[in-house]
Symmetry: C2
Subunit: 409 residues, 2 copies
């Protein structure tokens, strides 16, 4: 609320109309109006199977919640990797909306390349922005993205900057995007090879997780997203970690019922964290980045041949080992974390992750992480399973010890 | 807050873990987690003279508020039109920061063309984004823009999308940007000739209004921004309108003390509106757009030779006349509004604004405004001076009458 007290209106003499002037302000003969307000964001995250089946009214019900006098447009952008395995989707989406009178499906269902290519190609961003223009998609229309985290990041960014933000619905199709990224508030694209250099904080209006999509992932993609669930369990939820431990083998064997539980629990924990913390990351603490300082560096060092989730598993192993060798965590607990990762099928060592001395390549990730946070270094470690603890520096000798301990397993 | 109740962790059987399931959700066998959180934004708007004078510590004091362990970078982008008249600025800014140890001025002080050209040129946007990369400007650094509304919109947008938002300080240098646009939460650039097609809602971290900049505006620029103050007075603050009426002649004669009052009062009213309303414009009501439906259309019809503020003055005249002929406002009040606009030196008629029948060109502005709002048409009229009233349609016959009445003055 802006504040000012009443002024005489009979003359153009300027009274100092603002309150809360500090002495300094007085000395500099300046005035100030302090502005502050809160913006509320709310969205629902649904979990279902066969979202576009004619009998599944979940999405329609959501769209009908926003009553209006005008017909709302809805524009779909689909990950090519998804379309290749779910070719029926195009027709299914058209059928799904064919009897709707208050919702107009935009005739073009746009297919874009999946994976990091989606975020590396400026022309794809402009293709979506141009479609917004061409089809007169306004701020009360919907742009729906169906795909992996990369396509969601691209489409979410295009939606966020077009007309200062068009309603955006996310339909994540990978484990990582369902159990972590899609329920969050970030989007972005790469610029000149720099990961997520351009982007915004812009919550979706809804997220629909359709488990059926997960059936067509490669084993590596299926596994990869599981490390984010391990991460969030380790810093927040010991019982969930116990569950992961018990179910690691069936998860690795692609048991869908186990995966459904994992996705929902991990998504809910991530959501709870976002809502209770600093959703737009205005501070410089990033608790959900447990295991990530080295993971980011490894992805880059490997030329992105190591997947994010695989790198995170390696990062979790390293930081759990560090938590042990620095006296925070028992050896048994550290061992049990490593065992779960191994049972899930992850590697816990990689030549580029080895720390022999301060010139080991992954060490540079610490400084880059500090720069990324933009303030002082803040690293999450574990003081127990289910219990994170933030520290502001890591000791290179202890990192060596942690790396060596992992080598013994 | 995400909700879920406790689950058994001894098996991978998936319980329906989410609460608040509606019947429909049950039927579709889906679960939902509802997310909601608020993000608080706060920023101070300062009014001063000679901001970069060595003795004026206002900006330094602000920068020192954010204590940190690391040296913060500060990067300046300046409107060429400002630099042409205030050539000392480059040296003054360098001197201002020369003894600072916790703030590092980026060596390049970037100068960009002013006016709409700033928003029409994609390479300018990328030039700023590239500087963010080149100088490693992070989310805890500052990007400061000095200039008119166009340069502020450009730099604000570049800051908002780089690294998902770098701290942005605005130093507006025109009447319009000081009394209206800079204190707001919007930024943007034009795309393929479409005004503000790309942009975001991203509040600045602070705004510093330096009245001295206003001394070098042309008479037309000086006057142009005044119509936004008239606008906000008419819909919100009768005493301020009375003050404007009394001071219209001295304002037109470029009295600086009167202008200081006008800027502060108008800025405070705009700020109060933003904080108490719908800052990120998620609904489809836009009360501060009084007089703007026809103004936007006129700017476009005139190929942007009519300035925004001049067009707004014409739009205010038309919608005040409409408020009178539709029986909301007395003829005396309508007349007094028109008189103030004339005393300020504005035109109240323009060939392209005349409404003779439904084919008159400005009429198309109504439909475009509805599209812009993205829902139903909502137009602000006056039920009294200082009192806005929203309506959802305008009558063409009454618009003709309003236009004709203006012709008699
Ligand atoms: N916005 C955030 O908060 C956030 C958080 C974490 C990660 N991310 C981003 O997410 C991206 C990684 O996402 P990802 O792990 O989901 O992988 P991805 O989007 O890179 O997709 C990997 C591959 O799987 C294919 N694919 C997607 N769904 C499929 C399906 N159902 N069946 C078969 N193939 C399918 C894609 O076409 C692609 O080839 C990265 O760009 C990362 O930066 C964003
Ligand atoms: N973000 C918002 O909420 C918002 C609101 C209203 C208007 N706007 C935008 O603001 C822009 C108009 O801004 P404006 O009216 O400030 O004009 P402007 O930025 O177009 O500048 C007009 C001219 O004045 C010059 N100039 C600026 N300061 C000067 C000074 N002190 N002395 C001499 N010359 C100077 C500029 O170089 C330019 O040539 C439009 O693009 C409009 O869309 C934005
Ligand atoms: Zn991650
Ligand atoms: Zn305006």
């Amino acid at each position: 609320m802006a504040h000012f007290h009443n002024v005489k209106h009979t003359t153009y003499y300027v009274e100092l109309i603002m309150q809360q002037l500090t002495d300094t302000l007085m000395e500099t003969n300046a005035t100030v109006v302090r502005q502050s307000f809160s913006v509320k964001f709310a969205y629902d995250v649904y979990f279902t199977t066969h979202l576009f089946d004619g009998k599944n009214t979940l999405l329609k019900d959501f769209l009908h919640q926003h009553k209006s006098d005008t017909v709302k447009k809805i524009f779909f952008v689909v990950d090519e990797g998804v379309m290749n395995h779910h070719g029926y989707l195009d027709e299914q989406i058209r059928n799904y909306f064919s009897h709707e009178t208050s919702i107009a499906l935009v005739d073009e269902i746009m297919v874009v390349p999946g994976g990091e290519a989606a975020k590396n190609t400026e022309s794809l961003l402009l293709k979506i922005v141009d479609a917004v223009d061409k089809y007169s998609i306004d701020r009360h229309s919907y742009i729906v993205a169906i795909g992996g985290g990369a396509v969601l990041d691209l489409v979410g960014y295009a939606a966020a900057i077009s007309h200062r933000g068009i309603r955006h619905v996310r339909i994540p199709t990978t484990v990582l995007s369902q159990d972590d990224s899609a329920i969050g508030v970030k989007n972005g694209v790469n610029y000149k090879g720099k990961k997520n250099f351009l982007g915004t904080f812009a919550p979706p209006v809804a997220v629909f997780n359709d488990f059926y999509f997960l059936t067509t992932l490669t084993d590596a993609e299926w596994r990869s997203g599981i490390s984010e669930a391990v991460k969030v369990a380790l810093i927040k939820d010991a019982p969930f970690f116990a569950w992961l431990k018990e179910n690691a083998t069936v998860l690795a064997a692609r048991n869908m019922e186990a995966m459904k539980y994992l996705v929902q629990r991990s998504a809910a924990l991530h959501m709870e964290h976002i809502a209770s913390g600093d959703p737009f990351e205005m501070g410089s603490s990033r608790p959900l980045d447990f295991g990530h300082w080295s993971a980011h560096k490894l992805e880059q060092l490997s030329g992105f041949t190591v997947k994010h989730g695989e790198a995170v598993a390696l990062g979790i192993a390293l930081d759990s080992a560090y938590s042990f060798v620095s006296g925070r965590l028992s050896e048994d607990d550290a061992k049990s974390i490593v065992d779960v990762l191994l049972d899930l099928g992850f590697s816990i060592s990689h030549p580029l992750m080895e720390i022999k001395d301060e010139s080991s390549p992954v060490i540079k990730g610490l400084e880059e992480f500090r720069e990324h946070l933009g303030g002082k270094l803040t690293i999450m470690l574990l003081s127990a399973i289910g219990q994170g603890e933030e520290v502001h520096e890591l000791d290179i000798a202890l990192l060596q010890k942690a790396s060596a301990w992992l080598g013994t397993i």
